[in-house]
């Protein structure tokens, strides 16, 4: 079926190819922003990577800011960060699995770490994204910890809200140290250590 066959309601032009190009650009932008941050990375860098002129790049994303937002959205897709709470997997397994996965994609971790802190500065385009992300994540983890508490599997003197906040903080902090000293810092080890402290093992069945 060619374009001509479709009739008047059809989309014209090589839409699929354009979408692919957009993805290519996003990958390149991802790399550039991860390596140099938002302010430090230039549109020219991205354009060079994808073999396009800087102006052609702006044909796909009308501004640098738009490009960043698209990169952040894409990050959510890659990492599944827009976190479906309905999964059957337990909190501990889910976190550890993701942390293990992240070891293979340091670029994604770097992007996240750099942009997160950069967004703390004045009027950064990513600020809303990270603020909302933290809020969502804290809520989500707090609910998970509360579930564990209901099952008697959370150490009794642990507040689920504090645990949620701390888990997010610990994870991010470990990743930062890992990026600066990958041979000395083990993110998964640190997370396991924390879970061992707050999560009790499954209760053994009554004899």
């Amino acid at each position: 079926m060619t374009t001509k066959d479709v009739g008047r309601a059809a989309r014209r032009g090589p839409y699929a190819k354009s979408e692919e190009r957009r993805r290519t650009i996003l990958d390149a932008a991802h790399e550039v922003f991860a390596a140099h941050g938002y302010r430090g990375g230039s549109l020219q860098d991205v354009a060079d990577k994808v073999g396009l002129s800087q102006t052609s790049l702006l044909h796909y994303f009308p501004s640098k800011r738009d490009l960043l937002m698209a990169v952040l959205e894409r990050r959510d897709e890659i990492t599944g960060d827009a976190f479906p709470d309905d999964m059957e997997e337990g909190l501990v397994d889910s976190v550890i699995r993701t942390a293990l996965f992240n070891e293979n994609i340091p670029g994604v971790v770097e992007l996240y770490t750099v942009l997160c802190a950069e967004s703390v500065t004045d009027s950064h385009p990513g600020r809303v994204y990270f603020t909302e992300r933290f809020e969502r994540l804290r809520k989500s983890y707090a609910r998970r910890f509360a579930e564990l508490a209901a099952q008697g599997r959370l150490r009794s003197d642990v507040d689920p809200d504090v645990a949620a906040m701390s888990l997010v903080a610990l994870w991010d902090g470990l990743q930062t140290q890992w990026l600066l000293a990958p041979d000395e810092v083990d993110v998964v080890k640190g997370l396991r250590g924390y879970f061992d402290l707050v999560v009790l093992p499954e209760p053994s069945p009554d004899p």
Copy 2:
């Protein structure tokens, strides 16, 4: 005693005034880098704050990079981060006290958080500073936790090295969240929660 009285070996010129000016500049630079990061903050911003032309500023610090390094060194002085291990104060008290103090100087926390993550990017002038800082801090805390362990005051299944790495990570991560949501995140609460998990109370004397 005036300069004339000192004889030929004396320093000439208003040395003290110059030193004061340098401190003023460092304070301004601190604010600017905290608010906009190293790349985002400009020498002009700093110059404006201190009421000097941009070129005059470069008279005191020959390059932007030099200015940043001086700001980081000054940060160590302010926070006492070059951590004298010889203090009598216990690890827990020391950390909590510093965290409480930090609540009053969000600018310093912001500078630290922003520059730390920015330094993860390629060839950032602050990279060495933060890498070394983390290494030093992990070592220092690990020794403190080991001391606690020797006193039987560390939970037995906790590795001092993991605890040190985790404490640093947790602290930094909490500060980041606090900067983005100061009303919802309590750094001290998070740290206390962690210490409650790993540090045991002083053993009661034998009956």
